[in-house]
Amino acid sequence: MLKIKNLHANVEGQEILNGIDLEINAGEVHAIMGPNGSGKSTLASVIAGNEDFEVTEGDIIFEKSNISELSPDERAHKGIFLSFQYPVEIPGVSVTNFVRTSINQVRKAQGLEAMPAKDMLKKIKEKSELLQIDRKFLSRSLNEGFSGGEKKRNEIFQMAMLEPKLAILDETDSGLDIDALRIVSDGVNNLRTDKNATLVITHYQRLLDYIVPDFVHVLLDGKIVKSGDKELAKVLEERGYDWIKEEQTARL
């Protein structure tokens, strides 16, 4: 589904991604772990198409087409979704109006008619129940005054509404208490099929107890230096990242 080849990216001339190779197939859950500043969030932003980052080398192939030059909305139309670490507050637009606009813009890009209001309401009801979101919440301004947990739940609600092929969850667990973490992970797990894939970006192993990955990759200095299965995450939790750094130095 997603194939990243030798990806280099920089921001304001500083190289952050330093040759990433990553392949994600339908039905898989991948986790990217790494210390602060290793480039995890940058990788998420570059896949989503954030124009603040400049791709200097390499390609991002999504479902056999090169998406490196596409705008963020065009990538969303192809089925890529990014759950933000810090969702943006937009006073003046309700959650409902926002989600409606979003879905209908994606449908328009795919040559489909706008979703009938009745179907939209039904879907909103179904997905908000999945994430235990109160109806009143939906008429509030997007993310304005939301708690950290509400913001993250709202991100996953949008994901549930858009049903992307590839969902990238950037530090979705930060700011969540244990109950909210469970609701959010249950939501994500519920949306999993053998046709979509999930890329979880996280600092801690905690989230991976709930969203169990098939593959775990360690990102250091803008490079994937180690890959393994879910056991690797547990080792990282126990031993931190220093031993990998030492391994790397030894190899050099």
Binding site: E51, P72, D73, I90, G92, V93, R100, S102, L162
Partner: protein
């Protein structure tokens, strides 16, 4: 002959049709003298630095339209807030239209200035309030000199008006160019409440100049919500002079929605004359082309423990010009004043202009006053966020502009107005949203 000369000479003609022996006429006489001395404001005056009246003073206006033109309700229905029950006071070319109006004297007075000025039973109210909230100002004097008609609203003690009151002023275009000067008096007695909607609308492209004065008195513990809808032809100009005097524990809000007109100048002054008063001034301006909107506000904090909240948001495109001049004056005695002022402007292209000038004059030492003014572009981070949700750049921009303006509406209490204005904003910006939620 200049417009000033023409106005002064027509004053004699005007006098033939009013009661020259009345007390009111003394006000008129003084006012015309003041106007004769001062004339129209010019750009040399600080308060008019960015707004020139010159282009609109060139017209050969008629001041006294001959007859009331009968309008069909169905032709003007769209200018009424018609989905809810209201009292309506309607003027056509400055003359009261009984056929389009729904006035009342039951419990509250929502009727005509002309009868209030002439009937004895209103005399105590007129004596107490008429011309008592206005500052020395040439445009106000001009209006006072020609005071004859307008809306008269009085809400007695402890009465909450059961429906909103609409004041509508239509101009038909029967005159080639028309100048009208409505004079409104609004009195909320102690503990009373009312919602008012005001609109000036021309029905043709013939030039119209409206110089309206509204004096508003909000007595102890009373509550006013006043909505001004300004969405006129590009041949119509409006100088709105609104003066709100508040007594202790009262709350007054004025929302001004400016979506069109050749030149619109809003002089909006609040005078806080008691403790624990709250004054709210909000505005949304969205204009394009050769339109000009100028908000000139004053909040005068004269007593301790009061609040004021100003929030003006504007979007300007294609050669339009915006002005915001917001003055907050805090007297020495007005300790614990909480004054907030915010003016945010978005310029869509290089040809639009915006002048924003906050002015704070604070003589008390224990106050909280903040102000912020921005002239800029849309938030890049928010644009990116919307784009990752599949909303293309152009639509994302429109949605953010809509959000920017729409956010001011949170304090609008009449759902019908909120809905209409929201739709109007969406229409102006070209964003399509479903409004069933």
């Amino acid at each position: 002959m200049t417009l000033k000369d023409k106005l002064i000479s027509s004053y004699l003609l005007f006098e033939e049709n009013v009661d020259m022996e009345s007390d009111i006429h003394k006000h008129r006489d003084e006012a015309i003298k003041f106007f004769e001395e001062t004339g129209f404001p010019t750009k040399k005056q600080e308060d008019w630095k960015y707004t020139s009246l010159k282009p609109i003073l060139k017209q050969d206006y008629n001041f006294f339209p001959k007859k009331e033109d009968a309008l069909d309700y169905k032709d003007v229905k769209k200018y009424f807030i018609h989905d809810i029950d209201t009292y309506t006071i309607v003027f056509v070319d400055g003359i009261f239209s009984s056929q389009l109006s729904n006035t009342t004297h039951e419990l509250i007075d929502a009727c005509l200035m002309s009868s209030a000025l002439n009937k004895d039973k209103y005399k105590p109210v007129i004596d107490k309030y008429f011309n008592k909230a206005v500052p020395e100002d040439s445009m106000v004097s001009l209006n006072t000199a020609f005071t004859r008609e307008g809306a008269y609203i009085r809400i007695p003690k402890n009465v909450a008006a059961e429906k909103p009151i609409q004041i509508l002023n239509f101009s038909t275009g029967n005159e080639e160019a028309l100048m009208v000067q409505p004079r409104n008096l609004i009195v909320l007695e102690e503990g009373s409440q009312v919602e008012i909607i005001e609109r000036h609308q021309s029905l043709t492209e013939n030039p119209v100049l409206t110089n309206v004065v509204s004096e508003v008195f909000v007595e102890k513990n009373a509550k006013l919500d006043y909505y001004k809808i300004q969405n006129d032809h590009t041949s119509a100009s409006l100088i709105d002079n609104t003066f709100v005097k508040q007594d202790r524990d009262s709350v007054a809000s004025v929302h001004t929605f400016s979506f069109g007109g050749k030149l619109t100048r809003n002089n909006l002054n609040f005078y806080q004359e008691g403790e624990n008063i709250n004054s709210i001034l909000k505005g949304v301006t969205i204009i394009e082309g050769k339109q000009h909107v100028d908000h000139n506000t004053l909040v005068h904090h004269q007593q301790p423990n009061c609040q004021s909240y100003q929030d003006y948001k504007s979007i300007f495109s294609e050669k339009s010009v915006g002005v915001f001049n917001g003055k907050v004056l805090v007297d020495k005695i007005a300790q614990k004043t909480d004054g907030f002022q915010s003016n945010n402007n978005i310029l869509i292209d290089d040809t639009a202009t915006c002048n924003s000038k906050p002015q704070l004059e604070i003589f008390a030492d224990d106050v909280k006053c903040s102000h912020g003014c921005t002239i800029g572009q849309l938030d890049k981070e928010a644009l990116y966020y919307l784009q990752t949700r599949g909303i293309p750049h152009k639509e994302a921009r429109a949605l953010l502009m809509f959000a920017f303006a729409n956010n001011v509406l949170s304090s609008v209490k009449i759902p019908e107005i909120k809905k209409r204005i929201t739709k109007q904003i969406a229409l102006k910006i070209g964003v399509e949203l479903g409004f069933d939620s």
